[in-house]
């Protein structure tokens, strides 16, 4: 008995099932917070990206500035962006969300512009010929045709955000990242493995479900390959 106890104390296995069964609520809360942070970030990102993307698509003059600003935001490392915000917004969810939203913008706006640009001129002219006004054409012809590209952007933004949420553990949020940080601080593998695996699984599940949504929304493109 003593021998196994000593071995157990020295060797830290990659998974200690007893820790998992004793921490189900902690794991569940981390997962829930992870999903919340992600959904809010991508949701707000979309609310900003759709109007900005449409403006950048229509007004070529705006493209340079929009892509430069969102490109710079995208280039700044996540921890640095959070750190820049902390003096102003503190160690709060707001800091985390401003950072996370910033990262979605370039991906979402780029895919909106690329998707809208790819709508064939013939189709747009046909829509005009059928009497569509500008706004109706955008809503009922251009946007639906650009949907595969836009959805591809949402998928990339979502998977990216799920990964970045883990970094927010360093500023007191983190979702599953808090389990990973716990693993680092206590030099204990189980929370690290659980946090990492759940984060990867969450990213894959989100990607697959969004691709399912995309298929439902664009029945005409089924059977053809989409980006």
């Amino acid at each position: 008995m003593l021998a196994t106890g000593v071995v157990g104390a020295v060797e830290d296995p990659w998974i200690r099932w007893s820790w998992i069964s004793g921490h189900i609520p902690v794991i569940r809360d981390a997962l829930t917070q992870h999903i919340e942070l992600t959904v809010i970030a991508v949701g707000i990102g979309l609310l900003i990206a759709i109007p900005l993307g449409l403006l950048a698509w229509r007004l070529r003059l705006l493209r340079g500035p929009v892509f430069s600003v969102t490109g710079i935001l995208y280039t700044i490392p996540s921890l640095a962006l959070f750190a820049i915000l902390i003096p102003f917004t503190g160690l709060t969810v707001l800091t985390a969300e401003i950072g996370l939203v910033s990262y979605t913008l370039l991906i979402l706006i780029r895919n909106i512009v690329v998707g809208m640009d790819a709508v064939p001129l013939d189709v747009r002219e046909a829509a005009r010929g059928m009497g569509y006004r500008a706004l109706a054409e955008v809503l009922r012809v251009d946007l639906p045709l650009a949907l595969p590209a836009i959805m591809a952007g949402i998928r990339i933004a979502t998977v990216t955000t799920i990964g970045l949420v883990t970094v927010t553990a360093l500023i007191g949020e983190g979702g599953l990242g808090s389990l990973i940080l716990d693993g680092l601080i206590r030099d204990f593998k189980t929370p690290l493995v659980v946090g990492t695996l759940l984060s990867v699984v969450l990213a894959i599940v989100a990607d697959v479900s969004l691709s399912g949504v995309q298929r439902l929304l664009t029945p005409w493109s089924r059977g053809r390959s989409t980006a």
Partner: protein, 235 residues
């Protein structure tokens, strides 16, 4: 004094510019760690991507490796590396190399597949051997894609090297991590500015380099735009 004034004063403080804990040394640590990891990642990833693209096999693998790479948080990668090799230089190096490989594999594979089949056939018809087709035709045409992969990796690596301070390595992330630990928002903010500046500088200079590596016959085509669009991924 205003916050910005305090930050300015931090930068003007001579002691922050000398010794092992000074900005120059931290910058050197950050850059050398990034360069070493990038070189190692490129040495591993370029032959894989180029070979797969050249023989036209393993496309799914080459493309999906990037998607899987995106799903694995770089923070988790770093902490796992600590469990494997302890703290210090090695976990940071291993995590950064692992992070740098997928974009290079994917982009070099895509670049090689983008080479027009007619061009390849013409080269063969002119009597070029397989090796010559690879080195004199395919690689020059694929070069902008190869560079795009290297650039994406470089930007990711420089960004994630910030986290290396968490595993007891240096680099500019030290100011951020110490600032967080000591509740020193001035140091935190100053460090974040330095990291942001370095990242943007790396991105801009590599974009310029990518333009230069584009063969003259290919410049001004849409290819660079397409290259940009295949090379996104965040750190």
């Amino acid at each position: 004094m205003s916050f910005i004034g305090q930050v300015l004063q931090w930068f003007l403080d001579g002691s922050h510019w000398q010794g092992d804990f000074g900005i120059p040394n931290r910058l050197f640590e950050h850059v050398s760690m990034s360069v070493e990891s990038l070189v190692a990642a490129a040495l591993i990833a370029l032959p894989i991507g180029v070979t797969l693209g050249h023989i036209g096999r393993g496309g799914n693998l080459a493309i999906n490796v990037s998607n899987v790479g995106r799903a694995v948080p770089s923070f988790a990668l770093l902490v796992i590396a600590v469990q494997l090799v302890g703290i210090g230089f090695w976990p940071a190096f291993i995590a950064l190399v692992a992070l740098g490989i997928p974009p290079i594999v994917t982009n070099s594979y895509i670049g090689m597949r983008e080479v027009d089949a007619d061009v390849r056939e013409a080269a063969k018809g002119m009597g070029m051997r397989d090796r010559a087709v690879l080195w004199q035709v395919e690689l020059p045409i694929a070069a902008p894609f190869l560079m795009a992969g290297v650039r994406t990796s470089a930007v990711n690596i420089v960004a994630t090297a910030t986290l290396a301070a968490l595993v007891a390595w240096g680099g500019l992330g030290r100011f951020i991590v110490d600032g967080l630990a000591q509740r020193d928002t001035v140091q935190l903010f100053a460090g974040a500015l330095l990291v942001a500046l370095l990242s943007v500088a790396v991105e801009l200079s590599l974009t310029a380099l990518q333009r230069i590596t584009t063969s003259r016959g290919l410049r001004n085509e849409t290819s660079i735009q397409e290259v940009r669009s295949t090379s996104l991924s965040a750190a």
